[in-house]
């Protein structure tokens, strides 16, 4: 994924991360894999943006972290959604829908 595409998604990255944690807690690598899978390989998150975003989200209180053991028995840092984060996810989704609808209208796509 080229750099400029990703910058467009800067604010949206937070939403994607929140969404990917919606189902269950995950570590950083797993989050990037999940986003890739759910987007059918279109969206690949750069680690350079992923970890700063995780730090930001945790600081805001929308996710929380805990050290645990991964599937292959290694020490890993797991993130999970907080109640506040879940609420935020809902808000972001609403925003996104409104925004994308508006843009579609402008661009002449129904």
């Amino acid at each position: 994924m080229s750099k400029d595409r990703l910058e467009l998604l800067q604010g949206t990255l937070d939403m994607l991360i929140l969404k990917s944690l919606d189902l269950e807690p995950m570590h950083g690598f797993g989050i990037s894999v999940r986003i890739r899978q759910m987007s059918q390989e279109v969206l690949q998150v750069e680690q350079g943006s992923l970890y700063p975003a995780l730090y930001r989200l945790e600081n805001r209180g929308w996710i929380r972290s805990k050290w645990g053991v991964s599937e292959n028995n290694r020490k890993a840092k797991f993130y999970e959604l907080t109640a506040a984060g879940r609420k935020q996810l809902g808000l972001e989704r609403e925003n996104w829908e409104r925004l994308s609808t508006a843009i579609n209208l402008v661009m002449g796509m129904a």
């Binding site: 950083g28 680690q47 930001r56 209180g61 890993a76 840092k77």
Partner: protein, 888 residues
């Protein structure tokens, strides 16, 4: 916080983990392990970069958090403007005063002296430990030996202060300057703008060469560079009979104006200090070229060689002195040399007073901080609920503390701003009040460093003040607090303990300040009560200097007497006289005394006394009592100039040299030759010429007619207000001699008052500080009591329900408050006694550990505390138990 390295290592682990999994995935996709790892690294884009980005985010987050805290803090403070104003007021005053004092410290102690590399300049003094003498000066022969033998210095120069009259035929200007050896310019590093310094052959003779100071050159000679090489009429005004040639050649112009170096070897008058600039330089006239015992004329200033320490230089000088003592035992036995940094000499006198002020204002600041701390604790309690909710929402304890400290920081910065505003005004006020001989007084001002100090102080205050309440405010059991709506027993206990501790601390510190102020007030009163030895009211004084161009001292015998006679005839003048020197601020020269009928004594062990030249009406005009014998009669004033056959001595003289017997009829001379014997015909009361705080010297008087002066002070007893006669007197003096220079026209009361300016200054400042401290600590105690009573309403209700009368409740509450006071008083008393020596040097007539003073201060504080404690107790005891107990 040790969280940073932990954070870093965790981030490291996290990223490594990611990398490993990515590598494994590539391996699964078919790459070799090495390729997989390389590909993973590449995709990862550099672990360090990522870490850096996370770190950046972290910093940004921290910054935005801090800003958010600040914004929140401002909003919180906006809601309680009264609180903010109160705190800003309290802190503003304290920080403002502290800043003011600091501006003094900065100007006097911290700023380096205005000579290039001033820290390498030293003064080499003569000391005689056996006779406990410490002189600024050095004899000329010793000086030459020092210059030849010492290797620790880049030159040793000698100087002494001098005053001259500069005239161009039309106007005369009195100028102050130095007589220096020519290497002075190198040693002190005074560059020249034009011309040259002195040549070797110009030293030691009356060569009539002059180097002008820069400012003088600009103003008097309009900056004309052609003045170099021309001659000017400079009339040197020296103690010695021979005046120099009237026309002096200006050989150079200095590039800068340097302040006078400290010394006490001025020949005629009080030395100008570092507050004045040198206006001219002359080559040295050496009168006692070979006399090694003449140590009172020249001061040696030297520059340390690079790399040489003061200790090394000092030990070298000691060695050299020892050598000289061995070579010249008659003159140099027991004499040594000491090396003192110039900076130290300039400030040594004022230092104790300055530290005293620093300590006092520091105490005041502590009390103010304690007050504000208490206020914050109370405020924090009111916010318990809000804080608990924040914690429930996920704020860590440290976040909470950070937020609380941010708020207190904002408050204290507000206080600091108020303080800075105050200090702009107070620096001017304090500087106006300060004694004029405080070194470098004019450089006291608010500059960047002082502002930075104020800012730093505010921040420090903020952290200090907010720290404890923040720690307390955030330490509580969450459940308990949320359930009980903000009231928890254990937190209440630690709060009460802290408030109690604050009160104790404030009382203790306040007592120390009160004791200090009391000592200074008593001291000042003692000084005021000192009998100066003469009547000070309704007396006009002024110093009259005759232009040395016209008057050689030998030839103006009648001027003073005639002038005084004319003055006596003025209406409104009750009596008039004159004296060389101004009473209470005169420095002096000691004369050796050779008593008739006593065995000869080696020169350096001769008794000494001060000679004063007076117009015979002096005693009557000043109303100095005659104790024995008679005063001067007209016949005494007739005789050979420079020799008097009779003298009047003062009481100290008589008691010291003729204990147990009458001094009348005794004879002595000051030259050692029998020709010049004088007989004591009268003993008069002591006059405190050297100031009210110093013991009177042994003194004796000469009639002016035999020792005519070209400068003397008129003493005019007026019928009415002294100032009212000023114009008339001046007119008369100028009629007698138009070119005369009149200085310091004042009433004698003013003169005496000025001599006390330092004592007064300290007393006023410390009184202001301790008054502020008293107000703050009493109101602080009052506030704590009010709060404590309100917290204990329930308990008071219970006690009342159990049958305690109002009196019993008041007794109990007030008693607890008084216990705090007593503890504070005990601690404060101990501190006062322990710190007594810091104030010792500024006291007169009272010991620093004076028990009466301490007891008075204790009493004052106790009474004030009584009020602060009883009023809330009485109010609080009037609780209606039924109401309090019913509500749950």
């Amino acid at each position: 916080m040790s969280r940073k390295p932990q954070f870093e290592s965790e981030l490291d682990d996290e990223l490594q983990f990611h990398l490993e999994l990515q590598t494994e995935e590539f391996v699964r996709q078919g790459l070799t392990p090495d390729d997989a790892r390389r590909e993973a690294q590449r995709q990862f884009g550099g672990v360090e970069q990522i870490k850096e980005q996370v770190r950046d985010t972290r910093r940004l987050v921290w910054l935005s958090d801090a800003l958010r805290d600040a914004r929140l803090g401002i909003r919180m403070l906006q809601r309680s403007p009264g609180f903010v104003v109160t705190v800003a007021l309290i802190l503003g005053i304290a920080i403002g005063l502290a800043t003011t004092i600091f501006s003094f410290v900065r100007a006097i102690l911290l700023e380096p002296l205005p000579y290039p590399q001033a820290d390498r300049l030293v003064v080499i003094r003569s000391v005689n430990p056996e006779r406990e003498l410490q002189l600024f000066g050095v004899s000329w022969p010793d000086l030459q030996d020092w210059r030849n033998q010492a290797t620790s210095f880049d030159g040793i120069a000698a100087f002494r202060h001098l005053t001259c009259d500069l005239t161009d035929g039309q106007s005369t200007q009195r100028i102050h300057g130095m007589s220096t050896t020519r290497d002075f310019f190198e040693v002190v590093d005074v560059p020249l703008a034009f011309g040259r310094t002195f040549n070797a052959d110009e030293e030691g003779t009356k060569s009539g060469k002059l180097v002008l100071g820069h400012d003088l050159w600009l103003h008097r000679f309009r900056g004309d560079p052609d003045i170099v090489g021309r001659t000017q009429d400079v009339y040197s005004w020296a103690r010695y009979p021979e005046t120099g040639p009237f026309a002096w050649e200006i050989v150079g112009i200095a590039g800068i104006d340097i302040p006078f170096l400290p010394t006490d070897t001025n020949v005629v008058r009080e030395s100008p200090g570092i507050n004045e600039r040198v206006e001219f330089w002359q080559p040295p006239w050496v009168f006692n070229k070979d006399d090694r015992t003449a140590r009172y004329e020249w001061t040696a200033v030297a520059r340390l060689k690079p790399g040489v320490t003061i200790e090394q230089a000092a030990s070298e000088m000691r060695l050299i002195s020892k050598r000289l003592a061995d070579e010249h035992p008659e003159s140099n036995r027991n004499w040594s040399a000491e090396v003192v940094p110039l900076e130290e000499l300039v400030t040594s006198e004022i230092r104790p007073a300055l530290w005293l002020l620093c300590g006092a204002v520091g105490f005041l600041l502590l009390i103010a901080c304690a007050n504000v701390s208490g206020l914050l604790v109370v405020r924090g309690i009111a916010r318990q609920q809000e804080l608990a909710v924040r914690i429930a929402l996920g704020a860590g304890r440290w976040r909470l503390i950070r937020q609380l400290i941010t708020e207190s920081l904002l408050l204290c910065l507000a206080g600091g701003a108020a303080g800075i505003l105050l200090s702009f005004w107070s620096v001017d006020v304090v500087r106006a009040f300060a004694p004029p001989d405080v070194p470098r007084l004019q450089t006291v001002r608010i500059d960047v460093l002082v502002l930075a100090f104020a800012l730093g102080l505010s921040v420090l205050t903020g952290v200090l003040v907010g720290g404890l309440p923040a720690l307390l405010g955030s330490a509580f059991d969450l459940n308990e607090t949320l359930k009980s709506g903000g009231r928890s027993v254990s937190a209440a206990k630690s709060r009460r303990r802290m408030m109690g501790g604050l009160v104790i601390g404030e009382v203790a510190v306040c007592l120390v300040l009160l004791t200090g102020a009391g000592l200074l007030i008593r001291s000042f009163a003692s000084v005021l009560a000192v009998d100066p030895g003469f009547r000070t009211d309704q007396m006009l004084t002024m110093t009259v200097s005759l232009p040395s161009a016209k008057y050689e001292w030998k030839h103006n015998t009648e001027f003073c007497v005639e002038l005084v006679t004319k003055l006596r005839e003025l209406p409104g003048v009750e009596s008039a006289s004159a004296i060389r020197g101004v009473p209470t601020r005169e420095t002096h020269f000691d004369s050796n005394l050779y008593f008739a009928d006593r065995p000869p004594v080696p020169k350096h062990e001769l008794p000494q006394a001060v000679a004063r030249v007076i117009e015979p009406g002096f005693f009557e005009t000043m109303e100095v009592p005659l104790l024995e014998g008679r005063l001067f009669e007209p016949a005494d004033s007739i005789g050979r100039i420079g020799y008097s056959r009779v003298t009047v001595c003062n009481e100290t003289f008589a008691k010291r040299f003729f204990p147990g017997e009458s001094a009348l009829g005794k004879r002595f001379s000051v030259t050692g030759s029998d020709e010049n014997m004088m007989e004591i015909v009268g003993v008069a009361g002591d006059v405190r010429f050297s100031g009210l705080t110093r013991q009177p010297n042994a003194e004796f008087y000469y009639p002016e007619a035999l020792f005519p002066q070209t400068e003397f002070t008129l003493l005019i007893r007026t019928a009415g207000e002294p100032q009212s006669l000023l114009g008339t007197v001046e007119k008369l003096v100028r009629e007698a001699e138009p070119d005369v220079v009149i200085t310091a026209p004042q009433s004698m009361d003013e003169v005496v008052s000025e001599s006390l300016s330092r004592e007064r200054f300290l007393m006023l400042l410390l009184s202001v500080f301790s008054l502020g401290a008293l107000v703050l600590s009493v109101t602080g105690h009052y506030g704590v009591m009010v709060w404590s009573v309100s917290q204990r309403r329930r308990e008071i209700g219970i006690r009342s329900a159990l049958g305690a009368t109002t009196a019993q409740i008041v007794w109990q509450i007030a008693g607890e408050g008084l216990l705090l006071t007593m503890t504070g008083l005990a601690i404060g008393a101990a501190l006062s006694l322990a710190g007594a020596r810091w104030i010792e040097s500024e006291l007169y007539g009272i010991a620093a550990t004076d028990p009466v003073n301490l007891a008075t201060a204790v009493l004052v504080l106790l009474l004030a505390s009584l009020l602060a404690v009883t009023i809330p107790a009485i109010r609080g005891a009037r609780v209606h138990p039924a109401e309090v107990l019913r509500s749950e």
